[in-house]
Symmetry: C2
Subunit: 325 residues, 2 copies
Amino acid sequence: MLREKSSEMKKEACQRRVKISGMGRALGGRKICFGSQTRYRLCEGETLLDLVQRAAGQALHQAGRGIEDVDCIVSAMATPLQAIPCNGVLIHERLAKGLSVPAIDINTTCTSFISAVDIFSCLVDIGRYNRVLILSGDTASAALNPDQKESFELFSDGAATCVLEKSGEEDKSAVIYSRQETWSEGAHDTEIRGGGGLMPVFSFREENREDYYFDMKGHKVLKLCARRLPEFVQSCMEEAGISFKDISVAVPHQASRALGVIMPRLGFSEEMYLDRVDHYGNLVSASVPFVMCEAVEQGRIQRGDLVLLIGTAAGLTVNFMLVRY
Amino acid sequence: MLREKSSEMKKEACQRRVKISGMGRALGGRKICFGSQTRYRLCEGETLLDLVQRAAGQALHQAGRGIEDVDCIVSAMATPLQAIPCNGVLIHERLAKGLSVPAIDINTTCTSFISAVDIFSCLVDIGRYNRVLILSGDTASAALNPDQKESFELFSDGAATCVLEKSGEEDKSAVIYSRQETWSEGAHDTEIRGGGGLMPVFSFREENREDYYFDMKGHKVLKLCARRLPEFVQSCMEEAGISFKDISVAVPHQASRALGVIMPRLGFSEEMYLDRVDHYGNLVSASVPFVMCEAVEQGRIQRGDLVLLIGTAAGLTVNFMLVRY
């Protein structure tokens, strides 16, 4: 990102005068426990769109706005609701039917929310849009393999949303810095091989059932993270010109119970980051905004705080974003 | 889009000093004919990634660049290659393995390419990225219903790509204007109901096979277009401050054979727009960039020409974009 320009220019190009003016979150209605771990899954008759609607209502209420005040609906989800149309359209139908506001999907799997805030903070800052509604969430339970205990017991179904708009003159709120990288040597460490054009639904047989389940090679992911993540984080901090003490709180993607191992290795002490894996597990694309929303509700994140959104996603994609909340 | 600001400001906010510096295209290797209509489908052993790779090679060559000169890989496809990870990652693995360039998916189904150029022209203009590779394409043949003749005989498998970068000082090239709207009263007129979180792969039975096929209610789509499209186009032209005579050529999404009915109703005479449906059918997300790329190769589009990219997508989503090529 603008590597050849001066550090001064880099920071200027990266700063976007936007504000998260409202957030919301919702969990599947069926609570289950695996030992000390609590998870939530959709209950009978419930769909992800129900959770999205609840979370969006909360975010809009907090922002003091209605859906008619939004000029773009952005789905930031890892998985499709239907194969066609895109998720944004189905969300639009639920929240904004009769309005002409555009609906767009952004997808970088588990870090889709961070990527969407990255992209749309630029678009709002320059006036391409004025106020966007970003919605994350996935039906993880639709593709979990009961024979892969590690992932089967890890995920929850949930949704989380935010309203992103231009900062007022008096606001300090801004996106300060962002960077994404994709390391495709990890492309097949986290995947669902089937269900798309490469292995269509119609190729599904009992014999290849596993290809249509979520498949996470946890050890390979951890190994790749251990090898490359520390340098990535250090490089981002240097480029952004900040140090650990500047960060009020880090909101990492709730990838797995290994969070408590990874984060300290990156230099974050326990009180510096939010680990809610025991309580909610991995909410896929909703993890980051869900945990951030909870922290705002609890007062752990306050206006003016410097918040780090950080995460790894299937890809392996990594995101690092600094938000002045 | 910025409705409350003055017309002057609107146009300023919309102009982006970017240039399409290279384009490429590729078709599935199996040519089939339905009467006068020619279609292309993937042949045995071929995948969409093969077509994407060929089209990307051509675009980069034309731009005089290599993949290492690109700082973001943007998938602008309507359908997933795998359920997880996102398409951008699988393209990254094919084209850029070993590099750290980010990979991001943008999806508005058939107009994904226009949406991606819309979004990334802003990001390149402000310096968030310097040079992006945008890749469209779909394996339409993976979900066609042999019992729905209208759609079964309409689609081709293909890919098309472009390199988008900052314009040079001497270049006239720019994105002049763009607007997207989504009219979700048409959300279920074009769909594949199954295969996502709402109706997972594992619910697939012979009895509900149709839910996993592409389903297009052609008459309903046409009716919605006839009702709302003329006003949309007129409003865009007014907001952009241009008239039909300013447009060198319109590149519409090759939605169906009804293109020859729709476009004249919108005010475009036959010589003003490109209709290649007889030759290639509907290439889903690749239609617009494929036909534009062909027109550039044939000299129909030249540097300095004002090109209108316009299309309807499942949603119903509509896009209108003016590009000074």
